[in-house]
């Protein structure tokens, strides 16, 4: 724990409490306070933190981290403590009964032969080798699980379509594994490392010098957490929103008007990676952008992270976010993260505690929206 404190500069904490005041979870969960967790660590209460269910409640959304006056890297601190807890035998309360983490762990078996490319229809051009690799992430599995209320693979298809439009036939590999984001953030570092190694092998084999992701979590993981594994290579990793916005800027594609939109900043894309403008530029090129009160750095979270915690609090956060989106008067809520999409859709899929009109706003992925608005299609 001392190492974690040192690495994350937690020792700088002056208990100012700005973290807790910024925390979206603490507002709906009385027992949760980032300030107290750090304070416990500084008082040497390792066991207590590891055994506390609230360790897994944090969304690592970085609402606190971005503004901590003492520059404590709180989400990294949580990640470290979770790993420490994991090693002590504690596990997160994984949503879906642990199914998703299982799926991810299974992918770390070297000899596994996945069947994950079935979604590539004939109109899509992909390759097995080339300069650009499209890292699809968990979309095929999400399609399996959540097709009742979302179509995750439409994101993948839209991404390839847009890449094709730009004259790119991306590599999409059958050997791609889960990037390991969720396992890394729930303390299972060992399995994450296995997945990372396998993916890096695959990437190197593909010969790609550029990776496009449609998932901000994959983006963050590849760009930051794979840094050690990719050392020595010179691979550029971009999010599809950055890619589309550069296409628009260069007049390579044109988008038709698609209405009034509001935008949900995914935590990984926004606060983790600092990408706020690219998706907005894409939206502005196909419609009018109306901001929610909480936007950019101040954006609220979709309520679940790393499939670690899904509970009443999550739903409350999701409903509040949807109310905020609906009240902007926008025709749709655009996001650029498959998980935001799933969580926000899931929130209204079943029973909701408020009148339907208040939250009744379509949630659309940015890439899907852009693809639909492609001129001449």
């Amino acid at each position: 724990m001392k190492q974690i404190i040192k690495r994350t500069k937690a020792y700088y904490c002056v208990e100012c409490g700005k973290c807790s005041g910024s925390c979206p979870v603490a507002r709906v969960n009385e027992g949760f306070s980032p300030r107290v967790i750090v304070e416990r660590a500084l008082s040497g209460m390792k066991g207590e933190i590891e055994g506390d269910r609230e360790l897994w409640t944090c969304l690592t959304c970085e609402a606190c981290t971005t503004k901590c006056p003492s520059t404590v890297k709180f989400s990294e601190f949580i990640r470290g403590m979770r790993s420490s807890a994991f090693n002590s035998g504690y596990t997160s309360r994984c949503s879906q009964g642990g199914l998703l983490h299982s799926i991810q762990r299974v992918q770390s078996y070297r000899d596994l032969v996945q069947n994950r490319l079935q979604w590539i229809s004939d109109d899509l051009k992909t390759s097995t080798e080339g300069e650009v690799l499209y890292f699809t992430g968990c979309l095929p599995y999400f399609e399996n699980l959540f097709s009742g209320f979302v179509n995750p693979l439409e994101i993948a298809r839209s991404t390839v379509k847009i890449l094709n439009k730009a004259g790119i036939s991306p590599v999409v590999s059958p050997n791609e594994r889960c990037c390991g984001h969720d396992l890394l953030w729930t303390g299972n570092v060992e399995t994450f490392q296995k997945l990372a190694r396998l993916n890096v092998e695959m990437i190197k084999e593909s010969g790609a010098s550029r990776i496009v992701t449609s998932c901000p979590e994959c983006l963050r993981t590849l760009k930051l957490d794979y840094a050690d594994f990719l050392e020595g290579t010179d691979i550029e990793i971009v999010h599809i929103s950055e890619f589309i916005s550069s296409l628009i800027k260069n007049n390579d594609i044109k988008l038709n008007r698609a209405g009034i939109m509001t935008y949900q900043d995914p935590c990984r894309l926004g606060r983790h990676m600092g990408i706020y403008d690219a998706p907005r530029e894409v939206i502005k090129s196909m419609g009018e952008l109306v901001e929610m009160n909480k936007n950019r750095e101040e954006s609220s979270c979709c309520g679940v992270s790393a499939w670690a915690t899904c509970e009443g609090n999550s739903k409350q956060m999701q409903i509040e976010r949807l109310i905020e989106a609906k009240s902007t008067g926008a025709d749709m809520l655009v996001t650029s993260c498959p998980k935001c999409l799933i969580h926000l859709r899931c929130a209204v899929h079943n029973q909701i505690p408020v009148e339907k009109e208040k939250v009744d706003i379509p949630v659309v992925d940015l890439t899907v929206a852009a693809c639909r608005a492609l001129a001449g299609e």
């Binding site: 208990e15 100012c16 409490g17 700005k18 807790s20 005041g21 009385e30 503004k67 009160n293 909480k294």
Partner: protein, 443 residues
């Protein structure tokens, strides 16, 4: 306006004081009163500095202008002090005991000797610009006095906004000026001053919290800075001493004062500004004196009431004025678009719960940062800046007033964060050091 010729005559020892805030004023008076000649160079049209913009001062609640104005006037009336306002030092050559300073006298388009400060011109000036001396809460004219007590009491034309100077039209002020003081053809001039020592007392500027999005400054009508609050609650300010909130100009019921905005923050300004806890307490007390039904909340990190009588002031604020102190830096302020009320999200130490407090006004106690242009002036004077951008002492422990350049001294906030009495003390102290050098004895 003093004549260039007169300045060459140098019977008395002269000292250059840069910055006309309270520290510079104190240095000037201490030296002038012992027979030195002072050139007091001030960048703004009036001396007085930030203290002139404050309503009251802690911990006695003395009216700031009431105690400052006599000193400003004393400077103006003193036979040994030349105030060079609206001027900046451009170069300093020579050595301790015999410096030559080149000062740029910015054209104020007014003949200082003719102007009586009557204000006829201001009344007829059609150009309105945000009034920076009132926290931009109201408008001033392009020909203006910064505030009624300004010293010297001479008008200045704002060349950025004057219709005549920008478009060649209007000319109202010149037409109405009976003293014939308006001179559109005036140019910047340079004067060289022979001085024995230099005292730098350039003070501070206020941190702009606009980009700290969590607090919504600039976006929410009822989020203001402490400096704006000072102007608002000051009887001579833009609202005549009334606290006004959007949308209906009612006075607030609950006010949240948020400490350490941009200070004690490794992402912005790492040091503690030394004065914000105290001015927030003062501002809360003032709020209660104006309106009995106001409930002030102070969100602090550590309540640093460290000066003489400060702790007692803080305690009195709680017991007699009902200030509620909350140990926690808020994380976010959210505005209700229709009522303009604000919800301040914070972590309560005592109950250990995160709560949202609905208030009518939030006051950001923003960081006091090095005065803009400090780096430029440091280069001109050949003195060093410290890691924060404040002027660096020759020896921070034993020679706080000295810089690396002999004969150049520093005093007030520009040396390190401090309050008014400490600035006054250093202003005097620098005068002592300047005397030692100018006298040439035992150095």
């Amino acid at each position: 306006m003093p004549h260039a010729g007169r300045w060459q005559v140098n019977e008395m020892k002269s000292v250059l004081v840069i910055g006309g805030g309270i520290a510079g004023i104190q240095s000037s008076l201490d030296l002038a009163n012992r027979g030195y000649h002072i050139y007091l160079v001030e960048r703004e049209p009036s001396i007085g500095g930030h203290m002139a913009l404050l309503d009251k001062t802690f911990p006695t609640n003395d009216c700031s202008m009431c105690i400052l104005a006599p000193k400003m006037n004393e400077c103006n009336a003193h036979p040994n002090i030349d105030i060079l306002s609206y001027s900046e030092v451009m170069d300093l050559s020579g050595n301790a005991g015999d410096f030559t300073a080149r000062v740029q006298r910015k054209a104020r388009y007014i003949n200082e000797e003719k102007c009586t400060g009557c204000g006829d011109c201001t009344a007829r000036c059609p150009s309105k610009v945000p009034n920076e001396y009132n926290g931009n809460l109201d408008k001033r004219k392009s020909i203006f006095l910064p505030y009624p007590q300004a010293v010297p009491r001479v008008m200045t034309i704002d060349r950025e906004h004057c219709i005549y100077l920008t478009k060649g039209k209007c000319g109202n002020c010149k037409k109405v000026c009976n003293a014939g003081a308006v001179d559109y053809e005036q140019k910047d001039t340079f004067v060289d001053l022979n001085v024995a020592a230099v005292i730098v007392a350039t003070g501070f500027d206020m941190f702009d919290p606009t980009h700290m999005q969590e607090y919504g400054y600039g976006k929410y009508a009822n989020v203001i800075t402490a400096m704006e609050y000072e102007r608002m609650i000051c009887a001579s300010g833009p609202t005549g001493g009334h606290l006004e909130t959007a949308p209906d100009k009612e006075h607030p019921g609950k006010i949240a004062f948020i400490q350490c905005v941009g200070s004690r923050d490794l992402q912005h300004n790492p040091y503690c500004c030394s004065v914000c806890c105290m001015h927030a307490i003062k501002e809360s007390i003032l709020a209660r004196e104006h309106y009995e039904d106001i409930k002030p909340y102070i969100f602090y990190t550590d309540l640093r009431a460290v000066g003489k009588g400060f702790e007692e002031y803080a305690v009195r604020g709680e017991k007699e004025y009902g200030i509620k102190y909350i140990r926690g830096r808020p994380g976010q302020i959210i505005e209700d678009a229709s009522t303009k009320k604000l919800t301040v999200w914070y972590d309560d130490t005592v109950n250990r719960k995160v709560k949202g407090l609905e208030v009518d006004m939030a006051v950001l106690c923003t960081s006091l940062i090095p005065a803009k242009g400090s780096d430029k002036l440091a280069a001109i004077l050949d003195i060093e800046l410290d890691e924060y951008g404040l002027y660096k002492s020759r020896d921070e422990l034993t020679a706080p007033l000295d810089t690396r350049r002999p004969g150049v001294f520093i005093a007030g906030y520009c040396q390190s964060p401090k309050d008014i009495p400490e600035s006054v003390a250093q202003g005097s102290g620098a005068a002592a050091r300047a005397t030692e050098v100018a006298g040439g004895a035992y150095i």
